[in-house]
Symmetry: C2
Subunit: 345 residues, 2 copies
DNA sequence: GGCCCTAACTAAATCGATACAGTACTGTCC
DNA sequence: GGACAGTACTGTATCGATTTAGTTAGGGCC
């Protein structure tokens, strides 16, 4: 049963039926009442959302594009918090949430999935790596979270000061050989140690890169040549992808293995923790460890993770408000908090 | 730039442009190539999803309707696992995932959100309580998870045997005064102790109710009159909603307070645990406790929760396959596993 | 009574695609 | 050379609504 059929049944125009549902002031209460009750009786369940969205151009759907697979993201504390912040705002304003994975065919995102009224893109994803293709996105509504995209507003935290703070703290302890595990830092995929000639992403684009700048500042202040600090890169935050890289680090001979690992995420740090414990390494005596994010899991377990806490829920809320036009579409930077856990006291 | 404009620009029919994108076999490779490259050059980004979904009637979007708020569900381990199972299958078959909250205006779900090709409804929700209104749903694609809906396939676990098993185990310990905390069991909202004259939902409809049947069987076998066992009800799985009810239980005088609480979810059991510990009650000495679900958090902490583990990811996968027509649309029941933790050894 | 104004409603164009029925042309085969 | 098949493409109805411009009826006012 369509609006047209219902109109015919009632002997009124389609415009009146449409108005009965959308603009009560455009018709007499009496007719409106008749239309609504007949609709109910005949089982017409209101205007079809597909047709309406075509005609009006708006679907009241906002998409969140996630860097990792949906399956991973839904079980990741940080991504879940972001999503729940987004959902909170969308819900309160009558919008719904579409989940997309950035790991799908690059051409699909946010391209042909263009049912959504706007996109919140979380984290730099492989399909956006080719920064040249960006003009393709058109001026469609888009907000970037945790990375920068030229021409679009971004929401992130104060990465450089935060990473400087945690690295400074870590270096004040007796660590002599720091190492860094990065997340998607290199221009071309690399899941291993980063060699000196490898091209990195620009420092003003990715959070990982600006965190590294903070680390380097701390290194320099402690008399360590940043170029001498070994770095590894992982392409995904998952256990499967990280574990092999971490194992090559842990398998290094004692005098080459870093005695401090600065990790770009709690997830990575926790994986290091698990694998190090399996090998009988003592934390923090044999190996000091810092993370980034402040997820609950890192604070439950023993030893508690030394890390930087960020408010991912609030990031989600802000991104959602920007997309809905409830907040100015401009870059936002949120504060963080240093958590002194036991993995690097 | 629309398909029509592109066609005009190229001097071909709209049909050919459409075919270039959708049915390569319907036109010569040469023309197809020309269309695709011109499209790229002119910035046409492929057929508009809104229009396509109207015309074809399919959007490649599947909605999951969640009983609790999205904000809660996204941070709930059980719901997240279900979603990740759903996402896994949808992703593999080129569909996307729309999240809806059943707590929105009842008329909205799944009504006017009818952009989706199918609905996976998770848990009985307030808006579906009025079981009379169900015919409104039409014969739209729908799969129920963790509750039964007449006329639609449902995915759940072997609730009655599982709850019988855990209750039997618990009663073999020296518990003398069992009590039950239910989740959304009463026909009309009730967030308190259930009085004997209160109407319960039918046993073949909700998981909570069929679990209760299992409990009752165990009570009877242990010489306890099921009618004499005190029951409480909570309307939501959230801390905020559960805590007041749990506090009234814990505040009972020692000789009235149950020495065994069978909870309908791990979430509830963990809230009991937290509040009981705050009061200085010893678990399991002063109070024995069982949950239901087998979430990770219950197994990390000490004491470990005695519970029933279910595979929520698999439930999600199965529901998704049914919606996509990859699995027969018929009721499915998954097995569970009893976990003997320390809250009721 | 004539004029204007408003309220209540309608007719038809439109949103951007898809898909069916058809046309034009080329080539094959007896 | 004519019948027939196949390929490559086109014209247009259609999906189900929204919206603009326009029509009609009735009321108020001088």
């Amino acid at each position: 049963m369509t609006l047209k059929e219902l109109a015919a049944e009632l002997g009124v125009s389609t415009a009146s039926v449409s108005n009965a549902f959308n603009r009560p002031d455009q018709l007499s209460p009496k007719l409106r009442e008749r239309i609504l009750s007949e609709a109910k009786r005949l089982g017409y369940r209101g205007p079809d959302a597909k047709a309406r969205s075509l005609r009006t151009g708006r679907s009241r759907i906002i998409a969140v594009v996630l860097a990792e697979s949906l399956t991973y993201s839904l079980n990741d504390a940080v991504a879940s918090e972001l999503l729940s912040g987004v959902a909170e705002v969308l819900d309160a304003h009558g919008h719904t949430l579409l989940l997309l994975s950035g790991r799908q065919d690059a051409s699909q995102v946010p391209g042909s999935s263009s049912i959504a009224d706007g996109y919140i893109v979380y984290g730099l994803m492989p399909s956006l790596m080719m920064l040249d293709e960006l003009p393709q996105l058109g001026q469609r509504q888009l907000v970037a979270v945790d990375f920068d995209l030229e021409g679009y507003p971004a929401v992130h935290i104060d990465n450089e000061p935060a990473s400087y703070a945690i690295a400074s703290h870590a270096l004040r302890t007796s660590a002599r050989r720091p190492g860094v595990i990065n997340l998607r830092l290199t221009k071309h995929p690399c899941n291993a140690r980063i060699s000196p000639d490898q091209e990195l992403l620009p420092a003003d684009r990715t959070i990982t890169r600006s965190r590294l700048v903070g680390f380097h500042r701390a290194f320099a202040e402690h008399g360590i040549d940043p170029a001498s600090v070994p770095m590894w890169n992982v392409e995904e935050n998952t256990f499967e992808v990280c574990a092999p890289v971490i194992e090559t680090i842990l398998d290094l001979p004692d005098d080459e293995r870093p005695d401090l690992l600065l990790c770009m995420s709690d997830r990575i740090a926790l994986t290091v923790l698990t694998l190090a414990e399996q090998r009988g390494l003592r934390i923090p005596d044999d190996l000091r460890l810092t993370g980034f994010d402040g997820i609950a899991e890192g604070q439950y377990r023993s030893p508690r993770l030394t890390t930087v806490r960020q408010d991912s829920v609030e990031k989600g809320r802000i991104a959602a408000r920007m997309i809905l036009g409830l907040a100015p579409r401009e870059d936002r930077q949120l504060p963080t908090e240093l958590i002194l856990g036991e993995t690097c006291p």
